[in-house]
Symmetry: C2
Subunit: 137 residues, 2 copies
Amino acid sequence: MTTSAPSGTEFAATPIPYSAEELAAITYNSDGLVGAIVQDVTDGAVLMFAWMNAESLTKTLKSGRTWFWSRSRQEYWCKGETSGDRQYVRSVRYDCDGDCLLVIVDQEGAGACHTGSRTCFYRAFGGESESAESTGP
Amino acid sequence: MTTSAPSGTEFAATPIPYSAEELAAITYNSDGLVGAIVQDVTDGAVLMFAWMNAESLTKTLKSGRTWFWSRSRQEYWCKGETSGDRQYVRSVRYDCDGDCLLVIVDQEGAGACHTGSRTCFYRAFGGESESAESTGP
């Protein structure tokens, strides 16, 4: 398995093993969706948040690539299939209530955000820049 | 401001500055809620995911402590007020769509999860232990 590869290195998609018992631990909301936080394996940066349904979760586990459900387009989307900014899954965790996923990935390309930023969370209250910490009032 | 304090150190609650323009960038779902990812400032660990409404977001910014909205109890809750596992906010970020928050905190006490784990995401597909990476099938 390839992790923390230097820029330009090709990542390998590696299926994540799972059991029926683990799948049964996930609870979906009234729209059949569960939230998925995507985190970079190399430094822990939170890259994005999107939604999965049961089918996109199993597609993610089987393919080792992130598959989400688009609520606006009502269709599956595989991250980076258009932009090239693919995500290679290294681990899928789930929380105590089973109603949120934490997907840990190798992020290919410029980043996760459609704006071109590495992370979708590029803005902060108090007008901070991308990686600065709050300095208080 | 106190960050990365050793265990046992008392943290300070520090208000986060914000503008009306920043507040207006946040979009809420049909229940008036926005998802909030909570991340540890010391090492980037994702600790938990919970929901805020507009009022709990401003309470969080003004107080420098995390305030959420409980969907099951239909009430505000300040993290750690009962357990002592308080969260001291260092930064509040928001994503490109404005529909997800990333709250970066100093976590006091044993951790964020009501089970006693440091993080709510203590389980992984493939039966991994808390901090192990997936080793593939």
